[in-house]
Amino acid sequence: MSRIELAHINKHYGSNHVLKDINLTIEDGDFMTLLGPSGCGKTTTLRVIAGLERPESGRLLIDGEEKINSETAFYSEPSERNLNLVFQSYALWPHLTVFENVAFGLKIKKLNSMAITKHVTHALERMHIGELAKRYPNELSGGQQQRVAIARAIAYSPQLLLLDEPLSNLDAKLRMDMRVELKRLHQELGTTIVYVTHDQVEALTMSTKIAVFSKGCITQLATPKELYMNPVNLVNADFIGNPRINFIEAMGKKIKDGIRIACSLGDYEFDREAFTDEIPVEKDFACIIGIRPEQITIAEAQGETLIPAIVDTNQFAGSETLITVKIGEESLMIKEIGMERYRVGQTVYLEIKPERCNVYAKASGQLIKCAGQ
């Protein structure tokens, strides 16, 4: 159990500024996911915490204890940070058996052989791979190697567990199983976990908190639910959610006691209080409405507040159906649970709850209206 504080971390690779003034606090017991596309700095941040990279500036505290202080050029060794790491490549030592791989760190800690055997067996059993102890890494499948890598990381119950895209080399089904496994592990161990991934589903399903990275900066720090409901800018809104969020061009106008948003779906009026400080200063401004595909419902019969639309495509995806419809030139993606029921070219009627929409200022790309519950 650990509390981690990163303050003003900057890191360059040559002239490439990979971490730009990163500030992040990870609370004790959190499952913190660093999420972002490749090259955004999330793995570098993890490696800074692990002690494998040295930032040019910034401080790192783990449980209030200083581990990095760039001003005094103080960088403590990875082994002095009481953490463990699972690499994307697993980094299993090919010349050691599974048992020896897991036991390696314990031997360094000078545990007696009884204790080592106990810890290793326990860790292997926890990952359901007790029977593989005598094998070498190249005799294991990808999923088994993965479990060994995790077993090695948790063998001596570290205070902090770092995972660098651990599931990206697994196939879809195994990945699903391991997500459940990792979540269970987090609940059982109570360890603080920092998890790096570019897969939003992993982030949303496992984390207690998510830090979204973009081009070396953290753009949003939120719970999975908050992140999904209210991405702070257009980039995050576009990145989170599958299928992607619908964006509709609109015009905003400040009226007497609120704001009127006009778009091809109609006009909506909102209270002033619903808006954030990011709202543009102008009286009239261009904006973009974001609506999640599952927030639009389809009715086949006409209704007073409903918006007529024409079905364009129809993708059946098992438990759900993805439908694109056209309203004039505007194209919208809708997700419905259940089997398809619509013909292409059919006219349908859409129900949209304006309070559930996000509104972004077009110029800054920032969220100006949060979605209500």
Partner: protein, 604 residues
């Protein structure tokens, strides 16, 4: 004390502590210092020496004392009445040789590579062996074999053809034609290795795609395959040119008899018997020329040196059908390899059993004397005992074995260490610096490189005595010259050990020493062994590099063979060549059996 100053003080303290406490940093520091002392400093010294007057030329430069600054040597070489004889003519000869060797060897290597990799030529397995064997034969042995075949009556020991009554003219037996052909048969392997590697990495799917788009076989070769291997062809042409221009052994063995000088042989001449400083000037020119070509190549076409073909998925390589002509091509190729590779070696071997060379293989002309004869049984003009009764041989054998073993152990070890630094320091300043420093000896012709060491170490510096004529200087030069090669194999070896394997150990709490002994060394063992064997062979057959350091007490086998050949004692020279050849071949075979090492990697 203000708090700012305190922070600064702690900062410096932590920095120093970090460097001193971390063995990795100490190793980098020590490596950089050693590389600087052994590579950069000697070069600076040699350049400086060419501007300093030495005692030998004191009388020729009036009004100056020993140690004064002088332009005499450069003037003598570049702008005196003798420049034409000492510089221009050898320079022309070197260029001619390098040019023709490149023009002939590159197409030969390319053609062979294409046939072996991409065509459905029958009997590829045997032909490949025929093509591979010449890699292993040192180039000076090839010149011995050439002499065994083509030597005319000059000096009293006719060769095979002269013995058949064929009058071999001087221009064929010795001089540029002989040198060029010998070198072509040696250096074609450069192109062969590089191009066949490039051809193998061309995914058949790329060609098949072109076929689907409707391209014909020739179009595919011209528009898809050729452009993809072109960078490899160009680099091998540059390498061939650079190596051929500075090669000593072949040019000396086949050129000196008719006073045909190249830059390398002329330089050796100056250092041996003339003004050493002028020789050093020539060495500088030679280095500039040889490394200039390679550096120019890297600047102009370096960025697209090779195409990254997308790996990961296994790809197929389908061969191109030659049709009916494949049998005639196979026959021609077989005959060529037989005549160019096997026959000369056979004649070389047979000469060692002949009483008189060029007198055929009749029983009365066959003897074991050259191998095991005692001096008291000697007949005629011979005043040497057979090599197995010859003290000079055993001394040279001892020296060779000593140099090879000690040299290759040190070189291979340093190579792995530097390889570790290069692989872990990729993209960092010290990794790049080390990589560039260890590349320098590779750019220099071996004989010019040894001139640098001779110039630096033939005098004493305070407590360090003059190393001239010692085993130490030979060892030093051998190690440093082979380091580029050893550390390339070291880097490849270390790159195979993923960085995360070490980081995982680091996180688990193991320090540098433990990480090395428990993780890196156990995993690097095999790579180390193959790297060691490759350096071992390379040192065992070395001639160019050590020729300047030779004194009667530190002869090696290659030098002894070369000397016997100069003294027109072909049977003795051949016998030693055979020994070296056998040694190299056996080591190769053992190496590839034990470690599965690719033979082609050790060529240079």
């Amino acid at each position: 004390m203000s708090s700012k100053a305190a922070v600064a003080k702690t900062r410096i303290k932590n920095r120093i502590k970090d460097i001193v406490k971390n063995p990795y940093h100490m190793i980098i520091l020590l490596s950089l210092i050693s590389l600087f002392l052994l590579i950069v400093l000697p070069m600076i010294f040699m350049v400086k020496n060419t501007f300093v007057l030495s005692a030998n030329e004191l009388r020729r430069v009036s009004g100056k004392e020993v140690g004064d600054f002088t332009l005499y040597y450069w003037q003598y070489l570049l702008a005196s009445k003798l420049s034409a004889a000492h510089l221009i003519t050898p320079f022309k000869h070197s260029l001619t040789i390098a040019f023709f060797v490149t023009v002939l060897a590159v197409p030969l290597g390319f053609g062979l590579a294409w046939l072996m990799v991409r065509s459905d030529l029958p009997g590829k397995k045997w032909l490949t062996i025929g093509i591979m064997i010449p890699y292993m034969i040192p180039s000076w042995c090839k010149s011995m074999a050439w002499l065994a075949v083509f030597r005319n009556g000059r000096g009293g020991a006719p060769g095979f053809l002269a013995g058949l009554g064929i009058n071999v003219p001087d221009w064929l037996a010795y001089g540029p034609t002989a040198i060029i052909l010998c070198m072509v048969l040696h250096y074609y392997a450069f192109t062969y290795i590089m191009v066949s590697g490039a051809l193998r990495s061309v995914n058949s799917e790329l060609e098949e795609m072109a076929e689907i788009q409707g391209a014909k076989k020739m179009d595919i070769l011209k528009q898809i395959t050729m452009p993809m291997v072109m960078p490899a062809v160009l680099s091998s042409a540059i390498m061939t040119f650079s190596k051929a221009i500075g090669s000593y052994g072949v040019a000396a063995n086949l050129g000196l008899r008719i006073s045909y000088y190249t830059l390398a042989t002329k330089m050796h001449d100056f250092i041996g018997t003339g003004s050493a400083q002028v020789g050093y000037c020539m060495a500088i020119l030679l280095i500039t020329l040889a490394s200039g070509t390679i550096i120019a190549n890297q600047i102009f076409i370096g960025t697209r040196k090779s195409y990254e073909t997308i790996g990961g998925k296994g790809y197929r390589s389908t061969s191109i059908r030659l049709g009916k002509s494949k049998y005639s091509i196979m026959t021609v190729l077989g005959i060529f390899l037989f005549v160019a590779m096997i026959v000369p070696l056979f004649i070389l071997l047979m000469e060692t059993f002949q009483v008189n060379t060029g007198r055929g293989y009749g029983l009365d002309n066959l003897t074991l004397y050259n191998w095991i004869g005692r001096l008291e049984d000697a007949s005629g003009m011979i005043n040497y005992a057979g090599i197995f009764r010859n003290e000079a041989f055993f001394k040279a054998l001892y020296n060779t074995v000593k140099l090879t073993i000690i040299g290759s152990v040190i070189t291979a070890f340093c190579g792995q260490l530097l390889g570790y630094i290069c692989s872990r320091g990729r993209g960092k300043w010290y990794g790049n610096l080390v990589e560039q420093l260890i590349f320098l000896p590779y750019l220099m012709p071996a004989v010019a490189f040894s001139a640098i060491y001779l110039s630096m170490f033939s005098r004493s510096y305070g407590p360090i005595p003059s190393l001239y004529g010692t085993f130490t200087i030979i060892l030093l030069a051998t190690v440093v010259k082979h380091i580029p090669f050893a550390s390339r194999s070291g880097t490849a070896n270390m790159l195979q050990i993923g960085k995360s394997l070490e980081e995982a150990a680091d996180v688990a709490g193991s320090g540098f020493v433990r990480r090395m002994t428990k993780i890196v060394i156990p995993l690097a063992k095999n790579g180390f062994l193959s790297g060691f064997l490759l350096v071992f062979i390379s040192i065992a057959k070395e001639l160019d590099l050590i020729i300047l350091f030779m004194t009667p007490s530190n002869n090696t086998l290659s030098y002894l063979a070369f000397e016997y050949s100069k003294e027109v004692l072909p049977q003795m020279a051949d016998a030693i060549s055979v020994i070296v050849l056998a040694f190299v071949l056996v080591t190769y075979l053992t190496a590839s059996k034990i470690t599965g090492t690719d033979l082609s990697k050790s060529w240079g």
